[in-house]
Symmetry: D3
Subunit: 135 residues, 6 copies
């Protein structure tokens, strides 16, 4: 259960501000499906608008990193933050963008390895080498 | 300051087991520079061997993800884990593998965006959509 | 499912030490409802007593911050720690203390924004400005 | 040391896009001091613009929560995320907005208590009470 | 639901590489039960092999810390990382290795206390005393 | 630099409430050295008293776990929370209680392994096996 109500399509249709965002989500993604994240944010129209606008700019607009790499970075952050919803939604998004099983395996190995060495470096409190300075 | 002693090259040379790992690090990376992470792990030879062996397999051996993508995944995890040492060492590694300023900017935007939506999804406790099931 | 057994009211009644804490929870909160957190802690009477005593002192006794502000600070910490139970229980508590939808929206925007800039500052490893020193 | 270069005022003045943001920061805050966070983001103008725009909307524009409460929520999130820079900058900001020592003490007690019960609830894996449902 | 398919015993039997790991898990643990963690990793045979090999070396091979202490360290890390699965599986493992209710209570008190003081130290940004240096 | 002032011995001596806690710290630990954590908490006497009282009860009073095991649990939590100060102070405390280099190596391997499998389980979103239920 959520800490806020999830808006149904009927409720969305009755609120012009929320409906405009949902229409743009459907148009941009070329899909009628709008996932629960947006149905929860619908309770906060200004936050809904700002979050969707940022997602469009950061994750959907063409950039210098390819779309699958973007999703893998997103899942890595979501995994370490322990965000169950985000891991599910962005792993599904990565699959839709072509993630193969061997790529997922390699991704998992990297995230696991990073978490392990993060813990080691934090437990050892290793000072940063001056060679890493960008000075 | 670290919670363990960092080994000097002289100390490494005097310990055959540690020296073998350091020699392989230098040979594999084609560089004489060995960073503090390994000098701290030198106190625990078995952990040093296993960690270097895993890093070689996961991060250095050819795989299905390109080397720069691997580093970005690593930095994303390290950033969220708040590992100062790892963020420094892997950002330097990413630069050595060709990370450009626009790519770094895009990476930062994704990690920031992920952290923001992770917090929102956790605060809203949004239930996972059945559509994301791989069932 | 929990990693410990949740005590029923019958079990609580049969244990004088646990019953005393539950009685005080009910008396202090002016409600018969005792949530699962305390039913799980009932397995560890000393921890139950110390935790309830601290919660009373920190969250319930009159202080210099108003009760709703206290709950918002609590939810912010719980969100970032990814504690599903705590986010649920303290969002409910905040609502009981008068949290409005616009206040919740503003709270969510702040927590999301903080998480985003936390990730950016950690990824950029920005040195603390001397101007922030308290001398 | 940072993972990016921090821009000096001279460099900022030479870049119209970055200068526009810095001018607005100075004008909005009524202060000539611009802290390192923005000098690091200056390397990524689009991210700089979007982040400053969001901060203005979320933290500076009048809302339904008072400015000090906003800062306390921000510090709570930053503390749990272990963001040293953010804890420093927002504790300084809270002081500038009137945070007193007794308020800081109460804030610290709440964040510590939340972190403690977060850990307990996660270790006990306590199921959410149906009473907390918002239905 | 998982982000990958969980392998059934039939599927495991049909894949020699995965079957070899599962056989060794059953033989080493002297139990026919293989938990979901390994059934999920079965999709990535190389990661499955490396993870099981590390777990055997770190958690099962005789060492200088007793088996129950090892599990308590593991649960402490898993609790703070908010890994629900790991808290469940390692609390069960600790019980199988003799964890008593009073020991669990003491463990919980320590993890809670550590989380509280971690938050306090991070909020206060306390400088490390030179006396803690290992020189 | 800290976000609060660290109290000197002179300041402590001039405040009866703070002095009482510092006297008890020195008496209990049989040492004149009082580390910065307490000098920072001195600004908040009630929090100082409650925190010291809890530390005495949880970490110093005789219990069912041995003192070194308690410290290792504490360091594991502090490492994952990324609390630099706490990792330093409790690694020093563990050494004072007899932690050997091989024990530290084994501890580090466990914390690293836990962090790795935590990340894997969170990325795979593995459902908890019913066998782990405590019924």
């Amino acid at each position: 259960m959520a800490t806020v109500r999830l808006w149904t399509d009927e409720e969305v249709s009755a609120d012009a501000r929320v409906k405009a965002v949902f229409d743009d989500i459907r148009f941009t993604r070329k899909s009628d499906f709008v996932n629960n994240f947006w149905r929860a944010l619908a309770n906060q129209p200004a936050l809904l608008e700002r979050t969707w606008s940022s997602i469009k700019e950061v994750m959907i607009a063409p950039g210098v990193l390819d779309p699958l790499t973007k999703e893998l970075i997103y899942i890595a952050a979501s995994t370490i933050n322990g965000c169950s919803y985000c891991v599910h939604s962005h792993t599904a998004a990565a699959r839709a963008k072509g993630l193969t099983e061997p790529q997922h395996a390699e991704f998992l190995a990297i995230v696991g390895m990073a978490a392990e060495t993060n813990a080691l470096a934090n437990a050892l409190q290793i000072p940063v080498d001056p060679e890493f300075s960008i000075g």
